[in-house]
Every structure is written in structure tokens, then in C-alpha cells.
Symmetry: C4
Subunit: 195 residues, 4 copies
């Protein structure tokens, strides 16, 4: 089964998720600058989630590049990832409306963990399908970033109840770590082209 | 007439349906865990509908794979299916907000029946266009799953008024039956490739 | 300039318009059948607009099939059509919420007239670009349906103030006329292929 | 890395932005013409933003046409542009609901400046990647329009506090300047084809 339509569907859903998040930013009532200031938690959580969804799109873009084919189990592993990503507009708004309070910050982290686990499952399914000698498997490598992210997310969820700003700081840290797109597949592509 | 744009349009509409459903999940007011618990009916109905729309996408993906061309009647049969699918965000929210009460559960089932019937009509139109000796027709087979689903939906609608949890259980049962994607077309593709 | 991206963008916008219209259908409050009945004007206006947007998609699909290239003026003529189509969710909800009252019914018709005029302008721009001897121009023909539609819309707008159901009846009539997709381009394609 | 998926993702996000803006147009309550008149600020700001997003789509369409490849930094420069464009539905609604008052008009201009700066950064990243002897670089030229736009936006933001209609007039002026799509790349394509 070709990967084209799965890529297109995934891109479509991710494009909609990243864009409808803005609908959770309420239009402030009133017409002077003082009504804008209280919007900063909504805005900041929107920025953070926009970057996270952008990171996922970038990584999916690079990963699917080396994928050769998909099957039913890959389709459902992908659907599972899209499900947890689709909750980001809600967890983002929940965190923004409560000014990054402990529970909403932890819930946001739980969704991030579930997205990361879903990404792992998707990668595992693609690995099963492609075998160890393909560019997909070679590009994959050790996935240090993926593992450290989940560790940081879990720490953030626990520490949210000590001080919720530690949790936010850790989410920003993971975003910074991933900001540089996952170059594993990019490097593998180059290596093969240079042969 | 080529199938490319119909596939792309269908994928686009399905991607939007599956994603805007999340907009019906209201952001809970309050910042502790106690505000999350009452959200479970909304969340559960969202999960169920996400899986149903995912199943439709999977089946449409496999079915269109063996389609060679479309005509005006196929376009409208497809539009008809998209119409009933487009009501899923509303029937889902109606069911979630009323904690799976009898009438909302029955209405949800009625929409599922209408989606299933619309899918049948689409398949019938494609069958008319392709003739009995094409891979489309051969892949189609007896459609046991499609028939049994409608029987279960109808039973669920009736039984919702006895005990609404029976209806929900039956919807979950159909989702499980379909969870394994419709492999008829997949098998037909493989059979032809191996020749 | 190739037509591919314009087609894809147009399909994307039309897919979003047809799907977000459902967000204007409010989830009824209450859990028995009695809360569904008052929803019929919303539902009926949704059905009507779904068919209208579907008709536009079908006609754009057929028309772009014979288009060979586009330029800046075509892009803006297309944007203009998308603008008036994008108002359909609002005019539909306005009509549904007011039970097809005279003014909302007339406003709905005004938007339909503006969509039809925008479609004409788009066709005229494509005609200018393609010249009279292309399959686009030959497929176009006399556009009887387009002309009669605008006449009926204008009659409906005026008659809405006599009896608003006449207006609704006329909108249904135009939908029926167009329901059969615009076969001009389809026929032209067949004619050329058979040579 | 190919440009295809980036183009498709960008088009998807822009299509969603331009369409969900209409969800901020509230359905007027009441059923006679008098309820429509107070909607004019919402409508006018919607028209203005629809044209602005349309201009961005047109320019991105022309620019990506001469692009040959993208890398991680281009992807993020593009994401940055999409971020500021994604705020347009909110700044538009803020301006419309406050009848183009000074602060909302200035906020709208600030978002336009940030979009323009993001566009510059994207162009600069593509320029770095393509080198001075490519059709991309040659098509680019001096970008007089881009520079003058930012100057006008900044003037409009300052003058909004003198008289907010001056700001609106200047936004309309920039839209008129850009209405003619950026023909730099179009001309470059023609020049190369005629060789």
C-alpha cells in the first residue's frame, strides 16, 4: 500500500489541529491595551503548542520520507498518534485559561507523554514492516531525543505539583531540544544519495 | 473522469470532520482534577466517534485504491456519505452532553445506519461503473461485515430504550468488528500483484 | 502557471466550508425526542447548503478538468468565488435560526446570486486566457443553467417578501436543476477522447 | 528535501485560516434588515483580512514555484509565517467587534508587520539555500513592495492613535498595492522559458 494518501491525510489533520487551536484564543472584550495583558497565558500556551505540533509535523515529514510502504497496523498506529495530537487544542486551552496551574500543566504533560508513546508505536510498526536493512531502520538509530523527552515530561508532571513553573520550563526545554528537526532520516537520505 | 480529486476532497472532508469533533469537547472550568471527571462522557463519545471516522477513512482508502474511474453519480453518492459523516460531531456531542441517554444514543445509531447505507450506495454506484470482472468487484465480495453492522445498529437503536448501555456496548462491538481494516480490497490487490 | 495548486487550494477551502457549516448546528439541550423537532429549520437549511456547496464543487471539478493554465487574474476571480461561498455557513445559520423568515431567506438568495456572478467572472477570465478554440471554450457552450439560475434567485429574493416559502421552493428548484452535474465539460472531454 | 509537502501543508493551513475567519462573524439575532446594518464592521474587517490572506497565498504560490528544495531552517521560517497568519482571525474579530477602534486597529497592524517580517525571513532562508544564480534569487529582485508595506504598516500603527480611520485607509492602501500579485517570480519563469 502506497504511503501517499496516509501522508496527505496526516498533513491535513495536523494542519487543522494547528489552525483550530487559534479558535480557543478568545477575542478580548474591550478596546484598550489593558484587555490584552490578561491574555498572555492563553497566548503563551498557544505559542508552546504551535511549536509542539510544528515539531511533530517536521518529524513526521522527515520520517515518512524514508518510508516505502504502509499497512493496516501502520494506519491505526498513525490514527492513534493523530488522536492524542487532536487533544492538544483542549489541553492548551485548559492550561491557558487556568494560568498554567498545577493540574492543567500536568494534564498537558500527560497528553505530551501519550503523543510521544504513540509516535514510538508508529515508529515500531514501520520498523516491523521495513526490516533492519532499509533506509528507514538505518535512519532511525537510537532515538535518544525521544527517550529523554518522555523522561523530562514525566518529571514535569510530577514537579507541576511542587511548582507549576518548573513543569512549564521543562516543556519549553523539550521544545528547544526538538526544535532542531530530527536529522536522523535527513542524514540517512544524504548518505545514500552520496553513494 | 479520474479518481484523484475525489479521493483528495473526500480525505479533506474526513480530516476536517475527525478534527473539528474536538471543538465540541468543552474546556472544563476550574483547575483541579475534580473538574476532569465529569468530562468522561464527552471524552468517551469522542473516542468512539474518532474510531468510527477512522474506520470510514481506512475503508474508503482501501476501496478507492481499486477504483479506476468515477462519474457524476459516484460523486453524489460520495457527497451523500460525507453528509451523514459530517453529522457525527453533532450526534457525538449530543450523546456526550446527555451521558449516553436513550434518545441521544438512538440518534447516534440512526446516523451510523445512514452512514452505512450511504456507503452501500457508494459501493453499488462504483460496482455499476466498473462491471463484475474488475479488481473492484472482485475485492468487494459478500460484504458480510457491512450487513451485520447495520443489523447490530438497528438492534442498538431499539435496545437503547431498554437500557442505553446495551446500545453503547453494541456500538463498541461494531467498532471492534471493523477495527481490523476491510482487507477485501487489500487481498485482491495482493492476489493480482502475485500473478 | 500550472492549475494544480489552485485546484488543490480551491478544493481545500470548499471542503472546509462544507464541513464547518455543521458547527452552526447547535447541539440541542435536553435528552428526549421533543428537543430534536425544533431543530428542523437548522437541519433543512444545512441540507440545502450542503447540496449547493456540493454542486459548486462538482462544477468546479468538471470545469478545472479542461483548464490548461491559470494567471493572476484567474487566481483572484477564483478567490472572489471562494469569498462568497465562505459566507454560506453564516447565511445558512441566519436562515435556519429565523425559520426561513423573509429577510434571512432574501439574504441567502443574495449570497447565491453573488456566488453565481463570481462563477461567471471566473469562467470569463478562463475563457479570456484559453481562447475560443480550446476544449475549455468548447465545453462551456451557452451556459443556459447559469443564466436561468440567477433569474430564479432574483425572483426568489423579491418573492420572499410575499411568501418566504416561495423563495425556499425556488432555491430547492435551482438545486434540482443543477443536481445533475454540469455535463458540458464532461461531454467535451468524451468528444475529444473519441477522436 | 522536496518542496511538495511543504507547499501542500502551507496551502492547507492558509485554506483553513481564510475559512475559519468566517466563524468569527456572529449570526445576527433577529430577522429583519435592521439587524444586518450593525454587522458592517465585522463584515468589512472580514473582507480586508480575506484579501490579505489571499495576497499571502498568491505570493507564496508564486514564490514556491521557483523554489527547488527546502531544509529544516526553511521549514521553521515557514512555520513562523504560518503562526503570525494564524492570528489573523483573532485580530480581525478584535478589530471588527470594536468598530476599528485605535488599539484593535494598531494590534491588527502589528500582526501585519510580523507577517511581513516572517515573509522576509522565509525569503532570506530560501535565498541562502538557493544561491544568487538561481531563478529564485533572480525572481526576487529588490522587493520594493515588501519594504514599502512595512513602512506603511508602521505609520498606520502610529496614526491609529491620531485617527483610527487613517490606519484602516493605510491597510486598504497596502492591500491595493499587493492586489496585483507579486509578478517578480512570474516574469522570471517566463524569461527562462523563452530562452
Amino acid at each position: 500500500m502506497g504511503k501517499g494518501r496516509v501522508e496527505a491525510f496526516t498533513d491535513g489533520v495536523v494542519a487543522i489541529i494547528i489552525t483550530i487551536m487559534v479558535l480557543e484564543l478568545k477575542v478580548p472584550e474591550g478596546e484598550d491595551f489593558s484587555v490584552l495583558l490578561p491574555q498572555w497565558p492563553h497566548f503563551l500556551s498557544y505559542v508552546l503548542s504551535f511549536i509542539y505540533v510544528g515539531i511533530y509535523w517536521n518529524n513526521l515529514h522527515n520520517m515518512f520520507h524514508t518510508v516505502q510502504h504502509v499497512d493496516g497496523r501502520v494506519l491505526w498506529a498513525n490514527m492513534n498518534l493523530l488522536f492524542w495530537l487532536s487533544l492538544m487544542p483542549i489541553t492548551t486551552a485548559f492550561m491557558g485559561e487556568n494560568h498554567f496551574a498545577a493540574v492543567p500543566a500536568a494534564v498537558y504533560g500527560i497528553d505530551l507523554v501519550l503523543c510521544a508513546v504513540a509516535y514510538w508505536i508508529l515508529v515500531a510498526q514501520l520498523h516491523r514492516l521495513h526490516g533492519p536493512e532499509t533506509s528507514f531502520a538505518k535512519g532511525l538509530g537510537a532515538d535518544f531525543k525521544g527517550r529523554i523527552s518522555v523522561v523530562i515530561y514525566l518529571a514535569a508532571i510530577a514537579l507541576a505539583f511542587v511548582n507549576h513553573w518548573i513543569a512549564i520550563g521543562l516543556y519549553v526545554l523539550v521544545a528547544v531540544i526538538w526544535f532542531v528537526p530530527d536529522t536522523r532520516f535527513e542524514r540517512q537520505i544524504k548518505k545514500e544519495q552520496s553513494r
